[in-house]
C-alpha cells in the first residue's frame, strides 16, 4: 500500500467523517471503497481485446474503401476545413 495526498473540501470531509463514525469505519477505508467503485464503474462492460479486434476487422471489411479515393494530405485538408467550421 502506498501513501498519497489529495485535497477535499470541508463539507465532503465532514460528511465522510460522519459516515465513518456512523459505520464504525475509517475515512481511509471509505476513500478506498470509493476508489474501487469508480474503477468498477469505469471498467464495467468493456469487452476484451480479442472481441474488440474482431469487431474492428468486421467494421473495416464493411466500410473500407467505400468512399472516393483521397490522399492523406487531401484528407488532412478536409479535416482542417471541418474543424474550422465547428
Amino acid at each position: 500500500m502506498k501513501r498519497t495526498n489529495f485535497y477535499v473540501d470541508d463539507e465532503r470531509l465532514t460528511a465522510l467523517k460522519h459516515v465513518a463514525a456512523t459505520e464504525k469505519s475509517s475515512v481511509s477505508d471509505l476513500v478506498r471503497e470509493g476508489i474501487d467503485r469508480v474503477i468498477r464503474e469505469r471498467m464495467r462492460g468493456r469487452p476484451d481485446r480479442a472481441r474488440l479486434r474482431d469487431d474492428l476487422q468486421a467494421f473495416l471489411r464493411k466500410y473500407t474503401g467505400k468512399g472516393p479515393k483521397s490522399t492523406e494530405s487531401e484528407i488532412e485538408d478536409l479535416v482542417t476545413e471541418a474543424m474550422n467550421e465547428r
Binding site: 474488440l52 474503401g65 479535416v79 482542417t80 474543424m83
Partner: protein, 169 residues
C-alpha cells in the same frame, strides 16, 4: 497508459478508412479501439462533437458508418464525466478536451488541433503538485505519440525529459 485523442484525429481516421488510405490517425484509431498499447479516454460531449462533425454533408459519410465508428470508440474507451467547465482554451470548444484529460488523469493528450498545443492549454495540463498530480499530462502530436507507442522513447517520463514539443503531422 491512456490518452485523449482530439476530434480532428478521429475525423481524419474515419475519412482514411472510408477512402482506403493508411495514415497515422487511422493507425492510432485502430490500435486504440483494440486497446492495443493504450486506452482511449473520452467523454460524452467529445463523442457528441465527433458524431456532429461526422454527420456533415460535405463528408458524405453514410449514417451507418458514422454510428458504427463512434460505437467502436465508445465500446473500447474509458468514458469520463465532465461538467463543461471553462478551462481557458483560446477556442472555448476545446475546453471539453482539456477537462476530459484532466478528469481522466490521462497520460497523454494527442492533438492535431493547434490550439491544444498553445501555452494556455498546456499550462493546465502540465501543472503538477501536491493534490493535483505527480506528473504532467503530455500534449503531443499524432506522429510523436504513434512513434512513442512502439519506439524506445515510449515512456511519459522520457517524453518529459526530452521536452517533447509539437511536431505537427
Amino acid at each position: 497508459m491512456n490518452a485523449v485523442l482530439d476530434t480532428a484525429i478521429l475525423i481524419s481516421a474515419a475519412l482514411a478508412i472510408q477512402r482506403d488510405t493508411m495514415s497515422s490517425s487511422r493507425r492510432l484509431f485502430e490500435r486504440g479501439v483494440c486497446r492495443d498499447g493504450f486506452d482511449i479516454v473520452t467523454s460524452e460531449p467529445m463523442l457528441r462533437e465527433l458524431s456532429d462533425v461526422l454527420s456533415r454533408p460535405n463528408f458524405a459519410l453514410p449514417v451507418s458508418f458514422a454510428i458504427d465508428f463512434v460505437e467502436r470508440i465508445a465500446l473500447a474507451a474509458v468514458i469520463v464525466r465532465i461538467q463543461g467547465l471553462a478551462m481557458g482554451c483560446r477556442d472555448a470548444r476545446d475546453d471539453k478536451v482539456l477537462e476530459t484529460a484532466l478528469n481522466a488523469n490521462a497520460d497523454f493528450l494527442v492533438a492535431r488541433d493547434r490550439d491544444l498545443h498553445e501555452p494556455s492549454a498546456r499550462c493546465a495540463l502540465e501543472k503538477v503538485g501536491l493534490g493535483i498530480r505527480d506528473r504532467p499530462i503530455r500534449v503531443v502530436s499524432v506522429r510523436a505519440f504513434a512513434d512513442a507507442l512502439d519506439g524506445p522513447r515510449f515512456s511519459p517520463l522520457v517524453f518529459a525529459a526530452a521536452g517533447e514539443l509539437h511536431p505537427f503531422t
